[in-house]
């Protein structure tokens, strides 16, 4: 019973903060509430007997990625930038089609994804088990991730790195860049 209580509580938190992300005008608020939402998800992971993943969730997402977000927001000091709502059609279609999608999805999930028998026995997904699998069967994907991250780093450097920040740059022909 406690489980359910926790589940619903944190599910509510996750959803609410997610909504805040979507609805609130200020990116900083958005970022912070996204962090909150991720925390809630971490709790879900715990409920799903994956404590290690929960930890990862907190460390990687909440810890790393979202900080990065905040950092960028601050760097470009967008914290005061509040976006005006425009493009009513876009908004409307976005909400309606989103609603349709969500409802349909939930409907199908309720209809076809309800498992008669819950999982029996404990699901051992602790660091050890994961570690062993990781370096046995998943060594190749793991290596791929390394390339992925390398590419990402290099890419990030290339895009924002040296030479960047030239406002209204001139291209090689020396003509003004049209904005």
């Amino acid at each position: 019973m406690v489980e359910f209580a926790i589940f619903f509580l944190f599910a509510a938190i996750a959803v609410i903060f997610a909504l805040v992300v979507v609805l609130h005008r200020n990116p900083v608020v958005g970022a912070l509430s996204l962090v909150a939402s991720f925390f809630a998800l971490a709790v879900m992971y715990v409920l799903l007997e994956a404590p290690f993943l929960a930890a990862l969730q907190v460390i990687v997402y909440a810890g790393a990625i979202m900080v990065l977000f905040l950092f960028v927001i601050m760097l470009l000091n967008l914290q005061h930038v509040a976006e005006p709502t425009t493009r009513p059609i876009q908004q409307f279609l976005g909400y309606t089609s989103g609603a349709a999608f969500g409802i349909g999805l939930i409907y199908f999930l309720l209809k076809y994804a309800v498992f008669s028998a819950g999982p029996e026995g404990p699901f051992r997904a602790d660091a050890r088990a994961i570690g062993i699998r990781m370096f046995e069967a998943y060594v190749f994907p793991f290596e791929m991730v390394s390339i992925l991250l390398l590419a990402a780093i290099v890419g990030a450097l290339t895009l924002s790195g040296r030479g960047a920040g030239v406002r209204s740059a001139f291209d090689s022909r020396g003509t003004e860049v049209s904005k």
Partner: protein, 100 residues
Amino acid sequence: MIPTHYFLILSAILFTIGVVGVLTRKNGITIFMCIELMVNAVNLTFLAYARQFHDLHGLMFVFFIMAIAAAEAAVGLAIFISLFHHRDTIDVDEANLMHW
């Protein structure tokens, strides 16, 4: 023991919220955050199924998705920065030099 589909439905809701966010927001970074939200929803689904099947594969998938998210985040934010350098804003509606 919470039934798996609870989690599935939760993730569906989150995913949808993320999608709506992407469609309705203009601030590039917010949009990207919404995408992150979608990805997390996917993670939740994977994990729920993984637990349901007692199959670590799903869990591993989550792990790798996190890596993907990280990589995207790095590049994406770099792109936003250079976008900002070009036009003092990250409002994606402003980015419409090319059309038709």
